[in-house]
Symmetry: C2
Subunit: 395 residues, 2 copies
Amino acid sequence: VSFGQNQYMAVIEQGHATLTLTSALRDTNWVTVRWSNGHDSPFHYVWLRDNCGCAECRHVIAGERMSDPASIPLDLIATDVVTVDDSLLVTWPDAHRSSFSAQWLAAHAYDSVSRARSRRPLQLWNAADVAEAPPTAQFDEVMSDDTALLEWLLRLQTYGFTIVRGMGSSPGNVPMLAKRIAFLRDSNFGQVWEVRSEPKPDSLAYTSVKLTAHTDLVSREAQPGVQFLHCMVNEAQGGESILVDGFAVAEALRQQNLEAWQTLIRVPAAFRYQNDDTDVCASFPVIRLDHRNEYFEVRYSNALLAPLDCDRDDVLPFYAAYQAFSLLLREPRFEYSFRLEAGDCEVFDNRRVMHGRQAFDPNTGRRHLQGCYVDTDDFLSRIRVLQRQSDFRLR
Amino acid sequence: VSFGQNQYMAVIEQGHATLTLTSALRDTNWVTVRWSNGHDSPFHYVWLRDNCGCAECRHVIAGERMSDPASIPLDLIATDVVTVDDSLLVTWPDAHRSSFSAQWLAAHAYDSVSRARSRRPLQLWNAADVAEAPPTAQFDEVMSDDTALLEWLLRLQTYGFTIVRGMGSSPGNVPMLAKRIAFLRDSNFGQVWEVRSEPKPDSLAYTSVKLTAHTDLVSREAQPGVQFLHCMVNEAQGGESILVDGFAVAEALRQQNLEAWQTLIRVPAAFRYQNDDTDVCASFPVIRLDHRNEYFEVRYSNALLAPLDCDRDDVLPFYAAYQAFSLLLREPRFEYSFRLEAGDCEVFDNRRVMHGRQAFDPNTGRRHLQGCYVDTDDFLSRIRVLQRQSDFRLR
């Protein structure tokens, strides 16, 4: 079985299913594949050899690589390439053969045009864009139907938040909803935590003061990805919820104050959280880009900003940029303000959409939210697995 | 109580306890503090005002900032600075006053000399340095004594690994040991996982094949920090354990092949793990530096290397650099090879020290390890909290 494809390599990746192979030409360092839309993608020989999915190169059950990437000659050239049945078949000098489907190649092409096409589908928003019809989902539908689950997750990915309705007031419902995606992300606050005014709070969240828009767990290297806040009771005066699209604010900053934006993606801010049993700190820029220079995350919390650990020449530029970002994100055009009712759950990308609340008066009635987190890795994993299952159903 | 210090600001940070304040001079943008060793540290006015620890600026119980960093004028100048009782007292134009202890200022000074002094205490090693007397700890001592716990964690931080002896063969002991540090880091493999040869493995770890040295969960954005592998039974032939100091290998690469090192800190590698219910991927450089340009982590696994998502011009340089690193880390001088006996637990910084094993023959006897993870944030947090408690005991 030295000529075939690993089981997981057969998955059709979204958005690439329609391209077919027209031709494959050998060049010095790569094969040039021409697609049905006329576009060319190069695939280096060493890259193709390294990604061979045959049973010799990858463990048939575990799916992991058994071959050694270090053993591939960097000047490797295929002895033959041919397209058959919409697959690229490659023969190597040692007679080893590799097969790649058009879909798999299209999904993994790394020329700049192909990479630009596979950007994440983010829809940045101002308050006015979402206030009348915020993205929502129904608890019972998401719990019982995988298609509804996938649609909800894609909406959450696009907008960075959704409101899930019909959750009731049962304390177990929010971890149940979160586990539709994956296991919970734990922290020093526990897997599931209660947001209400407490006599001895170890976080401002557990008081009744106003919380300016922020991201959670900024003092940890990996901020949790998806945050769930389930409103079980909300009878107090005040306490309106605030959501702000941090990527929209970052992009507005870039357009009106490029110097501040460049400072915030470069100079590390510092954040620290301490209680009697915990002392965590992290130094990362307030705005981070990923390896494709797309927005990766926003990390922002006045409450936990700590003494900077940066070059002394960066201190004043940092504060100038931090203040510019702070003032921008408080502008009413960015603040989506609304009242969570009992049974509503706000679910948001904690690394993109900042959340806050107005002060409330705990003497006027009870206010009790229950929250938990799921990491971004597992959120994206659930989307991929649901899409894979959906693709298989469609065949 | 507008003149004071937050409870957590009183903590003496390690290594800074001996410096005292000699003088404080106002400059245009900062106060220059002179220390008892003759060294000067600047502290910007805006930085000092932002870090005021008084009861008005920080919540007295939660310890979090109540003041607004965006409200500080960037051209702020103190009206008076004075040193009293080894503290810096600052009076601001609005009559607000701030107090900072010498220890706190020394711990947070951000001039280049002070930052260099507070580097992490890492001791890079080759196999010969540790083979005769690897860093160890005793299970019962670590479990029962906080001083032994702190000493073990500091040793683990310095060398990136330790062997904990006397763990017996009870399956609950490894999570019990890990929870001396903090809650467990969960993943798709569960909080506690069993390493043994299985008929339907969803990872090469669960076969009997050789595992070249690697880091775990490379396909996740945050690789787990501290890994525990408790050997409960080891009666099979083969299966010797391998540990390699990834920072030592990275440093050796930098010295003998700077171009490869520069490629590995810049070009993102890609890793992906898939089973029937999981599909996680991550693109990050193999060697990462932190905001101080110190080694942050190594991310390396042949088994999970995935199709690169980088510029096409970086493909060949990446493979050349990856191969150079791969060949270097396999050199015997770096491979600390030893046999885990029942009752031993190897505990290592998964983001620094790569681990592997020789192939074993499951027909010759049982081999069963139990493992779990704790994140780096919580590992460092436990060290800080234990040091804080130790400081309080010493007063």
